[in-house]
Symmetry: C2
Subunit: 279 residues, 2 copies
């Protein structure tokens, strides 16, 4: 299997490592808009060869797009223009806009919309991790719009990575990720800004930052080039969840202001039910 990965950063680089290790592909062709990233990916052994987009596509059986979602919406139709029978998959965190962008493309069937549910707060080729995806879920969206053989190849790729598959339509996907991923990033960014606002006044306090603080704020290190486009493309769902989150925070605020500690206890005990979901 000849594989081209467009975007050799955290996701593309980690995929490259695993696909070679699992012998899905004897060699990987890399493409990146950032020339430095291309050279780093080569130097780190994530990819074996750098080619211009057109040749990279022509020399592959499967093309993986691992670029920010705004870039992907623009590039995917151009990639579909270039292919013959190749399969194209994306790895983005939003799906509605992307699927809409290619719904009437004559090669739509060659594209499989996928979202491997793994990431870290780091980015770029150096952020790539070995065995990153094992045991995690990949969501495949609108599978009925993909050709049967293209879908099968995408499924085989993710199974090779040790992932399990979940099928969903694009609209449901975008709602769910707003809850289980996008809102976590917004709360983390906002929390970082809250404490950084304070830091202007007093420098010393942060040596005290505890493990709990680190855990809630670590996502605030995430890259704006990846996250602004996600929030743009999932604006309505993210706003819904963000409004709900602000109103949940206001309940804590009201409890403190009114010294209603019984209700505060209820709110915390309700939150404890998250133990059902995360072990």
């Amino acid at each position: 299997m000849r594989v081209t990965i467009i975007g050799v950063g955290l996701i593309g680089g980690s995929m490259a490592l695993s696909l070679k290790e699992k012998k899905f592909a004897p060699k990987i062709i890399g493409v990146d808009a950032n020339k430095e990233h291309e050279q780093k990916a080569l130097a780190l052994g994530l990819v074996d060869e750098i080619l211009p987009v057109k040749e990279a596509v022509q020399n592959a059986d499967i093309i993986i797009l691992a670029i920010p979602v705004n870039a992907c919406v623009k590039l995917l139709p151009q990639i579909l223009d270039l292919i013959n029978k190749q399969v194209v998959i994306d790895t983005g965190s939003t799906k509605n806009n992307l699927i809409e962008a290619v719904k009437d493309h004559p090669k739509r069937g060659r594209f499989v919309a996928t979202h491997p549910m793994w990431g870290t707060e780091y980015s770029g080729p150096e952020a790539a991790v070995r065995n990153a995806f094992t045991g995690k879920a990949t969501i495949i969206c609108n599978k009925e719009e993909s050709d049967a053989d293209a879908l099968l190849l995408a499924e085989k790729l993710y199974e090779t990575l040790g992932m399990y598959l979940v099928y969903m339509n694009a609209a449901a996907h975008d709602i769910h990720v707003a809850y289980v991923s996008h809102i976590s990033h917004i709360t983390s960014f906002a929390l970082a800004n809250t404490v950084l606002e304070k830091e202007k006044e007093e420098d010393a306090i942060f040596e005290l930052a505890s493990a709990g603080f680190e855990s809630t704020v670590r996502l605030a290190k995430s890259n704006s080039a990846m996250w602004v486009p996600i929030f743009m493309q999932n604006k309505e769902n993210v706003l819904d969840v963000l409004n709900e989150h602000i109103s949940q925070l206001r309940k804590f605020k009201a409890c403190l202001e009114k010294e209603n500690y019984e209700y505060l206890q209820e709110l915390i005990e309700n939150a404890n039910k998250i133990r059902r979901i995360i072990k």
Copy 2:
């Protein structure tokens, strides 16, 4: 050194394990308001003996209070009534109220107000962890109000645990922990309630919960018996930080509503500065 630990849960139990391992104390006497916890602490080998409070205090050189902060405010004056030359330390997450409660006590000098900055989202004797405190900070508050020999013994205890010491007055302590600990718990509780609200509608989505989600929401498993009293006792500071946090979240909301993606990028890039604080 004879040590009595009152409250043999997460903090008291973990301390017991380390103090014995480091040979600070050949044996540990345990006391807990919960009889089941006393028996579990004994069965788990966290403590060597269970005694009633009065005898436990009389048979110790140092008494460690590791109980919820509301219970501590009530119990500390009673413990000071019982002691002769023993040293008493607390381990609570708020300090103003506690120090105020004993400021005119004739034995005030025997008490050292301390806050070891470590914890997990679990509670009870089974939550106790070996080598929990190594490399973390302990804050010692209003050290000038403690007798020199009492302070020295408390410092020796925390150094034995491998902790480094930070000195602060109680008011500054309570503000700082609102930023680096208490607000993280509130955002996590509120985030859990946000997604649990959604879960009522759709059950399946949580199998997708990613590592990022787990990280921001794990503190929501924390025990209300510990946290309600902390929020009560640090109400004003927590409200200040919570108001700031809600206003930071509103900035993200306004960016999305107005599609002001340049400012959204600025907000995220500002949040990225948290890299200075957490590595």
